[in-house]
């Protein structure tokens, strides 16, 4: 006895209309796509997609300002490094709910996992644009293992974690498809996947930082530290928390019709709880970075241009959000928490860019600035990620439960 929607007498055409076209016939569905938001998306994709094609036809040099002196740039700094940090909400919230048993955060687990999954997926897609020979991706996965390389570990961890996230999100997809038995089976994996996900996330979040360990000759001494893997991991937790606050606020506004009733109030409580967690993590992270500064012993560099920028990042993007998150949690100010979360997200991106682009080769005569095409391609990839998020949320039980499937607990 199967229970797919085909059993309800839906032929393939009706299934497509119901599942894909939001219950509208094709004509009506296409008409419904004409919105101001989609116009903006079109404005990005119309030059963006050809730019991506151009990059693959004519090579990296044709579209970017990357040179022999600066082989890494915006795509690594933004799409890969920042993208992975901001996708950290998946393992953070999953751990809160499934390992620590904090059921209050159950409503945001699925959106967080989806954000994580799509975040990592589009990091990999962004990486394809940056790699010179992306078709060789199977090489280190299948037969030539550079096991001494931190990059090797990053690659494997990301690949495994992407699988874990896909499996963690699969119950939502299976509910959408109405595959009850498979969904039961997928749910049983949740705890194991969460534990494995946290292991893998610890490893690759920190390893992205470890990539810079071999580069004391390129990264500015105020940012270079033996502890940079730990910095990356802890700041990733803060980034994940902040990103979940931002994403849930935006989702509830954009997809208000799809959320379960009463969830707006629940989200306020959740947001404040996350703000408190974010405050504590950022506070600890601030002291970690201070320790890193002391360990470097380079107080003399604080009185330079880069020194001021370092202090601005440390105070403005770490300590200030920590205090403001604490304030928002203490005074139960949800709007403040959301703004601080947005600022924290920016701060994490700034930190990743500082290491990979802004202070990279800081004392070399040849410096790098991204080209317009690089920016366009990055924005295109991010836009595609957001659109995929929207497509999935509009169809699958992410923001609210499917009444046919009782909640998993």
């Amino acid at each position: 006895m199967t229970d797919t929607t085909f059993d309800r007498g839906l032929g393939p055409r009706e299934w497509v209309i119901e599942k894909v076209f939001l219950g509208m016939p094709l004509g009506a569905y296409l008409r419904s796509l004409v919105t101001p938001g989609n116009l903006l998306v079109a404005l990005i994709l119309i030059p963006g997609i050809p730019a991506v094609v151009y990059r693959f036809v004519y090579g990296i040099g044709a579209v970017s300002n990357l040179t022999q002196a600066n082989p890494w740039g915006l795509w690594i700094g933004l799409d890969v490094m920042s993208g992975v940090a901001l996708a950290a909400g998946g393992f953070t919230i999953a751990t809160l709910v499934h390992v620590l048993g904090l059921r209050d955060y159950q409503p945001i687990v699925r959106p967080a996992i989806l954000t994580g999954f799509l975040g990592y997926l589009f990091v990999v897609i962004g990486l394809m644009a940056d790699l010179g020979r992306p078709w060789n991706l199977p090489v280190p996965m299948v037969y030539s293992f550079g096991t001494g390389s931190v990059m090797f570990e990053v690659g494997w961890c990301v690949a495994l974690y992407l699988t874990v996230l896909a499996l963690e999100f699969s119950p939502a997809v299976l509910e959408w498809l109405g595959l009850r038995k498979m969904r039961e089976w997928a749910l049983k994996l949740t705890l194991a996947l969460t534990v494995l996900g946290l292991c893998l996330s610890t490893l690759h979040q920190s390893s992205l930082g470890a990539l810079f360990l071999m580069m004391p000759h390129r990264v500015h001494p105020l940012w270079y530290s033996g502890f940079v893997p730990i910095f990356f991991f802890v700041s990733a937790i803060a980034a994940g928390i902040a990103m979940v606050i931002v994403e849930s606020a935006l989702s509830h506004r954009a997809f208000g019709s799809r959320v379960a009733p009463g969830s707006h109030e629940r989200l306020d409580r959740i947001t404040l709880g996350l703000a408190r967690a974010g405050a504590l993590v950022l506070f600890a992270y601030f002291f970690l970075r201070l320790q890193g500064l002391v360990d470097s012993g380079r107080f003399d560099l604080l009185n330079t241009g880069y020194g001021y920028w370092f202090l601005f990042e440390l105070l403005g993007f770490v300590l200030v959000p920590a205090i403001l998150f604490g304030l928002a949690s203490r005074q139960r100010r949800v709007v403040l928490a959301r703004w601080v979360a947005g600022w924290t997200v920016i701060g994490i991106v700034v930190n990743r860019l500082n290491l990979s682009v802004i202070t990279f080769n800081w004392n070399s005569p040849e410096r790098y600035v991204p080209s317009a095409m690089e920016v366009l391609i990055s924005v295109t990839i991010i836009t595609l990620g957001v659109m995929t998020f929207r497509w999935i949320v509009n169809r699958m039980p992410v923001l609210r439960d499917d009444p046919a499937f009782p909640p998993a607990h």
């Binding site: 019709s257 799809r258 009733p261 009463g262 139960r332 499917d402 046919a404």
Partner: protein, 244 residues
């Protein structure tokens, strides 16, 4: 990089001091960031008066400035009269509306007695009056154009204007704000429970466009009975009114 033994004494000393100072500071910061009393749910319903656009976006949110009757009619005070209409949940419950049978001006209504009815597919379902009084105005456009009720149940889909001498007392019996939202949550849960028992669930995941005709989904043959159960008019009918 300055890690000779002499420099290290100094640096390590600072590191230890920093770590020790951090511990009490962390405790203090934890206390700073913790709210005092257990968090109370913030009732955002009455905080801002949602515009008509919000009603479609906020599916089961009830406009904060309206009074709601358990029979799913709403009332809004305008001066010394009360505007009455059908709420969003009810119109989605019924689904296709052919027309509405509204009482003529001058009719006397009693609170929680049938006031008007919805006609669909040859069957009619009565709706209870949220307040009693004299009908002073009827929205005939809405009566003959059900689209108004379906698209804008709180706006141009209003149905009746009633002059109610005991307005204040009667409004006290109605729900608004947080209480109304909690009531709507219970109704929704009830519907969910019923739906889970049937195969209605799959219909909800068609992409989240608010589902029309939920009563039909629950029971194609006896949708009107389902609707009457929710509208609290199981044994009631509305005989008056014209088919205009």
């Amino acid at each position: 990089m300055g890690h000779d033994l002499l420099t290290i004494y100094f640096l390590k000393g600072i590191e230890y001091l920093l770590a020790v100072a951090y511990l009490p500071l962390f405790v203090l910061f934890w206390r700073f960031a913790t709210p005092k009393a257990p968090a109370v749910a913030v009732a955002a319903v009455g905080d801002k008066a949602p515009g008509w656009a919000d009603q479609l976006a906020d599916y089961f949110r009830l406009p904060g400035d309206l009074f709601h009757h358990p029979g799913h009619a709403w009332a809004r005070v305008e001066g010394d009269t009360v505007v009455v209409g059908l709420n969003d949940f009810a119109q989605r419950l019924v689904g296709r509306i052919d027309r509405l049978r509204l009482p003529a001006a001058g009719t006397e209504l009693a609170q929680s007695r049938p006031a008007f009815s919805i006609v669909s597919g040859g069957r009619s379902v009565a709706v209870l009056a949220p307040v009693g009084g004299t009908v002073v105005e009827v929205n005939h456009e809405a009566a003959s154009d059900p689209g108004a009720v379906k698209q804008s149940p709180y706006g141009r889909g209003w149905l009746l204007r009633v002059r109610s001498p005991q307005m204040a007392a009667q409004l006290k019996a109605l729900m608004r704000g947080e209480l109304a939202q909690r009531w709507m949550d219970t109704v929704w849960e009830q519907l969910n429970t019923e739906a889970a028992a049937t195969e209605l669930g799959a219909v909800y995941q068609d992409g989240g466009t608010p589902v029309d005709g939920m009563a039909q989904g629950l029971s194609p043959e006896h949708w009107d009975r389902v609707a009457r159960r929710y509208l609290l008019t199981e044994d009631e009918s509305f005989e008056g009114g014209s088919d205009a």
